[in-house]
C-alpha cells in the first residue's frame, strides 16, 4: 500500500441501492400527495392557507394578550404559540431552580436532607406526567370557591377559580419594561463581578429575593398606585392578577416532574467531580462552602449543562399535554382548529414548524451556554 488513505471508488451497486432508496421515497411522497388530493376533494376541503384570515368563532381558556371569538385563525394560533412559550419558559426556570436545590440535597452529607430529596425524586419521577397533571387539576378544581379561598398572608389566595397574586398596577407594557430593566440591571451587576459563576449566581439570586421582598413590602402597605393586591369583593376577587387553575396545574405538574429529572442530572454532575480536586481544596485550607461554590459547582456545571439542555427541550415538548385539562397551548389551539376548520394538513404543518423552531432555538441557546461555560471555567 503506497497511499496513506485508500480512496474508495464509487461502487455501481452502491449507486443502485441509493437510487432505489430515493425512488421509493419519492414514490411514497407522490402517492401520499395524490391520495391526499382525492381524500380532501371527497371531503370538500380546499387546501391552502386562506383560512388563516377567517375568524374562528370559538373561545378558549387562557391568553396573555387581548382576544375575542372574532379573531382570525392567525391571531388565535399566535396566542397558542405565546401560551406554549410562556408556560415552557416559566416551567423551565422553576424546575431548574428546584432541581438544583433537590440535586444538591441528593448529594448532601446530611442524612435527613438526603432522604427527603430521594423521596421527592422517587415519587415524582416514577409516575406519568399526565397522571400527575390530572391529579393536581382535580385537586385544584375541588378547592373551595373564592369566598372561602385559601389565604397566604392575605397577599395571595387560592380557590377553585385560580391563584390570585399581587401584581404591578401598571399597564402591561410598563410592567414588561420594568421587568426587563430589573433583569438587565442584574446582568450588569453580575458582569461587574468577574469572580466565577457561583458568585454571580448568588448575586443574581440575592437580587431576585430583594426584588421580591420589595414587592411584598410595597404591596403589604395596601393598595398603592404601583402595586395592587387581590381582595375579595362580593363573590369574586378584584385587583392583582388571576392565574387560572389550568395554568397553575400545568406549572405544578411540569415543575415537580422536571425538577425530579433535573435533580438526578445535578446529582450526577456533582458526583462526577474528581475527588482529588476537592481534597486539593481541603489541603489548601479552603472552607467547605468555598470548596462547594468555587470548585465543585463550576466543575459539575460542565457535565450538568448538556443533559440539562435535553431536559429543557423535553419540558418544552411536555407542555403539549395541556389539552388533557383544557389549557390552551399551541397543541390544543391547533387540534381545536382542525376540528373546526378541517384544514388538517396546513395546521399540523404549522404545529410541527413551531416546535422545530422552538426546539432549534433552545438547542442553540444551550450550545451557547455550554461554550460560555467552558471558556469561563478554563
Amino acid at each position: 500500500m503506497t497511499e496513506p488513505m485508500p480512496i474508495r471508488k464509487t461502487n455501481p451497486k452502491d449507486i443502485l441501492v441509493q437510487s432505489v432508496f430515493l425512488v421509493i421515497v419519492v414514490v411514497l411522497i407522490a402517492s401520499a400527495i395524490a391520495s391526499a388530493r382525492t381524500n380532501l376533494n371527497a371531503m370538500g376541503i380546499s387546501s391552502g392557507f386562506g383560512f388563516l384570515d377567517r375568524s374562528t368563532g370559538w373561545s378558549y381558556s387562557f391568553s396573555l394578550v387581548e382576544r375575542s371569538i372574532d379573531d382570525p385563525y392567525r391571531w388565535t394560533l399566535f396566542v397558542g404559540f405565546l401560551n406554549t412559550l410562556f408556560l415552557g419558559v416559566i416551567s423551565i426556570i422553576l424546575a431548574t431552580l428546584l432541581g438544583f436545590a433537590v440535586g444538591a440535597a441528593r448529594d448532601a452529607r446530611n442524612f435527613a436532607l438526603n432522604s427527603m430529596a430521594t423521596l421527592f425524586v422517587q415519587i415524582f419521577r416514577n409516575i406519568p406526567l399526565i397522571l400527575q397533571l390530572v391529579f393536581w387539576y382535580a385537586i385544584l378544581i375541588h378547592m373551595p370557591g373564592p369566598r372561602q379561598a385559601m389565604s397566604f398572608l392575605d397577599l395571595a389566595f387560592l380557590s377553585n377559580r385560580g391563584l390570585y397574586t399581587p401584581a404591578l398596577n401598571l399597564p402591561p407594557i410598563a410592567s414588561l419594561t420594568a421587568f426587563a430593566f430589573a433583569i438587565g440591571s442584574i446582568v450588569v451587576v453580575a458582569k461587574a463581578v468577574q469572580s466565577g459563576f457561583a458568585k454571580r449566581f448568588l448575586i443574581w439570586l440575592a437580587a431576585n429575593i430583594l426584588l421580591l421582598a420589595a414587592l411584598v413590602l410595597f404591596s403589604g402597605a395596601g393598595d398603592s398606585a404601583v402595586f395592587s393586591i387581590p381582595a375579595l369583593k362580593g363573590l369574586r376577587f378584584t385587583g392583582g392578577i388571576t392565574i387560572p387553575v389550568e395554568l397553575v396545574a400545568m406549572i405544578i405538574a411540569i415543575v415537580l416532574y422536571g425538577a425530579a429529572y433535573i435533580a438526578e442530572v445535578v446529582k450526577g454532575g456533582l458526583r462526577a467531580v474528581p475527588k482529588g480536586l476537592i481534597e486539593a481544596g481541603r489541603s489548601l485550607g479552603l472552607s467547605e462552602r468555598t470548596i462547594w461554590f468555587k470548585i465543585t459547582m463550576p466543575m459539575a456545571l460542565r457535565s450538568i449543562v448538556p443533559p440539562l439542555g435535553n431536559q429543557w427541550i423535553f419540558l418544552m415538548k411536555a407542555t403539549t399535554i395541556g389539552v388533557a385539562i383544557g389549557f390552551s397551548d399551541l397543541f390544543m389551539i391547533v387540534s381545536t382548529s382542525i376540528t373546526q376548520s378541517g384544514q388538517t394538513l396546513e395546521l399540523i404543518g404549522i404545529l410541527m414548524a413551531a416546535f422545530l423552531l422552538i426546539n432549534f432555538s433552545l438547542a442553540q441557546m444551550i450550545n451557547l451556554l455550554n461554550s460560555r461555560l467552558q471558556l469561563v471555567t478554563n
Binding site: 401520499a32 427527603m116 397543541f331 422545530l356
Partner: protein
Amino acid sequence: MSAPSSDWSFEPLKRRVFRSPSDTALSLLIFALLAYGLFVTVNWAFFNAVWSAGDAALCSEAEGACWSVIDARHRLILFGLYPYELHWRSTLACAAIIATVVLSCLPFFWTTRRLTGLWIAGFGTYYALMEGSMIGLQQVTTDQWGGLSLTLFLFSSVVLIGMPMGLGLALARRSRLPIISRGVAVLIDFIRSLPLLTTLFTAAVVVPILLPSWLQGDKIWRVILAFSLFFACYQAEVFRGGFQAVHKGQTEAGRALGLRPWQILSLVLLPQVFRHALPGTINMVVMTFKETAIVIIIGLFDILASANAAFGTGEWAPYYMEVYAFVGLIYWVFIFSLGQYGAYLERRMAVVSH
C-alpha cells in the same frame, strides 16, 4: 465511570445526622416534617379509611380514603369495557406480559435469540388470549380492550415493533452510503424534536388523509406504529452509542479473519453493542411505559381513561383521589422497580468494565 466522589456515603449514620448544631437542627426539622407527612398519609389511607365493600353512602362520613370505590370499580380500571365474564382472559394476558418483562431481567435470557423468542411468545400469548378467535375462544375485538390491559398491549407492541426498527435505523444511519445515512439522520432528528403527542396525533388524524382508504387500518394500529417509530428513533441513538463504544479494531480483526460483513456485524459487533446499550435500553423501555399514558388524549381507553370513567358517575364522583392513588401506585410499582433494576445493572457493568 469512576466511583462516586461523595466519600460520606459510608460514614456512620450518627455523624451524617448530628454532625454540627446546625445539622442537628436541620435533621430534626426534616424528620418532624417527614413524620407529620407520614402520619397524615397513613391516617388517610389506613386508619380513617373505609374498607368495606358496597355503596358509596358509607364513605360520606369518613375522614379518610374511601377504598370502596376501588372495590366497586377495579374491574373497569384494569380491564376497561372487556366483557365481564371473560375477565379471566385479560387477567392471564396481563400476567403473560408482566412475566415477559420480569423474565427479560434474568441474565439467562440475554441473548438476541432468547430475548426475541421470549417477547414474541409473551406478546403472542397476550394477543391470542385477548382476541380469542385464534385459539377457539369467543372473539373480542380491539375496540373493547381497555384499562391496564390496553396500556400493557400498547407498551409491549411498541417495544416489540420499535426495537428491530430502532436497530434498522441505527444501522442505516451508520451506512457508508451518504444518501441513506443522511436521509435516516434527518428522519431521526425530525421525530426526536417533535413532541410524542404530535407524532401520535398525526398518525391518528392526519395519516388517514394521506393514505388510500384500503391502507388506513384501525386507529389503534396507526397509533402503535407511530409510537414505535418514535421509540425506534430514540432507541437508534441508544444503539449508536453502543456502536461507538465498540473499538474499531474489532471490525478490522473480523475482516482479517476473513469474516463476511454480516458475520462481523452479527457475531462480533452486535453482541457487544447490545451489552453497552443495555442501560440506555432499559431507560427507554421505562420511558415508553410511562409515556403510554398520553394516548388518553388521542381517545384510546387506557388505564388513565378508565380511571376517569371509574369516578365519573355520580355516586363515586368525590373519590377521585383514591382512584388516582390506585392507578398512580400501579404505575409507580412498575416504573420504580424497572428503574431500580436498570440502576443496579449500570452499577454492575461499571464495576465489570474497570
